[in-house]
Structures are given as structure tokens and as C-alpha cells.
């Protein structure tokens, strides 16, 4: 059971999250007018690296935010966790005040 350091909520059990596939899929738009094969690649073809994998997860039972993880598929070490898109930190973090 992975221990994932959500940028908002801190370290939490994997069971609080849902996996969302690879992090850097580019969705072809209507204007791109892709072929059936290219569309099928977008839907189905995935890299399966042994090693670093960039993936997205969402913190379903926590803040509900989508995150980007870099995870080693062999050792299961989580190398990095970030928010998926821009991070707005409008509200100060309690830990800033506590100096942790």
C-alpha cells in the first residue's frame, strides 16, 4: 500500500486515491482531425516502462485534487508528487505557521 505525499493533505494511504493513467496524454481535438489509428492510440496504446513512470492520481477521499506522480514501477518508490496543473496556494498552510 503506497504512502503518497499529497501536496495539500500530506502523507496518506494509497486507498484514499484513485489512479488516473499516464500523466502526459495529449487529447486530440476536433480540429486535429486524427485518423482512426491515432485516436485508438490515444485511447489504448500505453507505454509500460520498467522504471520511472509519470502518472496521474486524484485524491478522492481527501482534497479531491488531481496530482502528478513520478513513480518507479519496479521498486514502487515515489520520486515526486506535484499538483497536476497550476497550483493556487491562496490560503496559507498551517505548517507555514508552525514552522514545520
Amino acid at each position: 500500500m503506497h504512502y503518497i505525499d499529497c501536496p495539500w493533505c500530506g502523507l496518506r494511504d494509497e486507498s484514499e486515491f484513485s489512479y488516473g493513467g499516464p500523466a502526459d496524454l495529449i487529447r486530440p481535438t476536433l480540429a486535429d482531425d486524427v485518423s482512426d489509428q491515432e485516436w485508438a492510440d490515444y485511447l489504448f496504446t500505453r507505454d509500460n516502462p520498467c522504471g520511472e513512470h509519470h502518472e496521474r492520481w486524484v485524491h478522492t477521499f481527501g482534497c479531491g485534487q488531481w496530482l502528478r506522480l513520478v513513480r518507479d514501477t519496479l521498486s514502487h518508490k515515489i520520486l515526486r508528487v506535484d499538483v497536476l496543473r497550476k497550483k493556487q496556494n491562496i490560503f496559507p498552510n498551517i505548517t507555514d505557521e508552525r514552522g514545520i
Binding site: 484514499e16 493556487q88 498551517i94
Partner: protein, 196 residues
């Protein structure tokens, strides 16, 4: 099948205490007259802190439950809950509408959709640690902090209340979705029996 007194608007009352000793474990339904959820658009978030201060409301802090009347609980980078024990939701919403325009944020009365329980007592953590893996140690989860997590397979927000409970101990509150009230009470009764 139990009587869903939660829905009949009667206070839920104590779920149970261990051997009728509330200093061991006291679970109570907390009645808040107002629970309002604010979901703000980006342009509103920019100066929201100042606006809230101007009406005397606490400013949300990440993973925190700030203030008492009202108490503001952070839910996500753009969501927070405002709890008030005595003022009705309409009043809270009116105050918020005075600083936030209709097209800047969703300000919705969630009082009917949520339930809040409080947990206090020496054995409270023995109960809570059956339902969630959250670390409740002082150093990880201090007073005035809040956590969204899973509890008994439900999505909940647990916050450590600033004030101490009526029995003078640490108290945790838990916000949950009201339709699960009966399931949650059954779960708590079951879990409480596991504490010896």
C-alpha cells in the same frame, strides 16, 4: 433497522458510551444551525482573504479549522465550509453575498446535506483508529487542524476543535454526508464494542 431520528430533526443524542462512562468515550451529534459551502472561481480567490476579514470571518488555512463562530474549514484550494452554531444559514449566506458576487462563487446551504459528530474521551482514538489510518498524534494532527479522509469507507472531514469538550478533553468533530447517518451509527456501535 434503527429509527433514523437524524432525519426527523431530533438531536441524535449519544450513540453510546463505554459502560456509561463518558470520560471513556462520548460520541454526540452536533447541531450547527448553519453549514455553508463556498466554491470560488479563480478571480474571486485572488483577494478573498481580505474580503472575509472585512466581514469578521476567519480566513481559511490549508488543513485547518479556524475560528469558532463561525468556524471556517478548508476543503480544497477553492472550497471551504463555514459552520455556525447559532446563526441560521440564511444569515451567513447574506453576509457572504455582501462581499462575493453571484458570478464569483457558489455559496450553497449544505446544512441539510451534512451531519456532524463529535468524539471525546480517553478511548476516542481507539475507536477512530478502527475506521481510518489517519495519524492522530499531537505532532501530526494538532488542535485547530482539519483533515479530509476516509472513515468507515466514507468521505469525511475530521477537525480538531479549538475548544475542549464539555468533559475537558480533546475533541474531534467529523463532517459526513447525511444519508449515511444510519450506517455510520451502526458502524460506531459495532466498533465501540471492540474496545475493551
Amino acid at each position: 433497522m434503527t429509527d433514523l431520528s437524524l432525519r426527523a430533526l431530533k438531536p441524535w443524542g449519544r450513540v453510546d458510551s463505554i459502560g456509561n462512562d463518558p470520560s471513556q468515550l462520548l460520541i454526540q451529534m452536533e447541531t450547527f444551525s448553519a453549514i455553508v459551502r463556498v466554491t470560488a472561481l479563480d478571480h474571486c480567490l485572488q483577494n478573498l482573504s481580505e474580503r472575509l476579514t472585512s466581514i469578521g470571518f476567519p480566513v481559511p488555512r490549508v488543513n485547518s479549522a479556524v475560528g469558532e463562530e463561525p468556524c471556517v474549514i478548508w476543503l480544497s484550494p477553492r472550497d471551504f465550509l463555514i459552520l455556525h452554531k447559532t446563526h441560521p444559514a440564511g444569515d451567513v449566506i447574506e453576509k457572504l453575498n455582501s462581499i462575493i458576487k453571484e458570478d464569483e462563487a457558489l455559496i450553497i446551504d449544505q446544512t441539510h446535506g451534512l451531519g456532524i459528530l463529535s468524539y471525546a474521551g480517553d478511548r476516542a482514538l481507539d475507536l477512530l483508529s478502527q475506521g481510518t489510518s489517519l495519524d492522530f498524534s499531537e505532532v501530526s494532527f494538532g488542535k485547530g487542524e482539519s483533515r479530509r479522509t476516509s472513515f468507515a469507507h466514507l468521505k469525511v472531514t475530521i477537525f480538531s476543535f479549538q475548544a475542549t469538550s464539555t468533559i475537558g478533553q480533546n475533541m474531534w468533530m467529523m463532517v459526513f454526508d447525511a444519508p449515511y447517518a444510519d450506517y455510520l451509527s451502526q458502524w460506531l456501535l459495532h466498533a465501540q464494542k471492540n474496545i475493551t
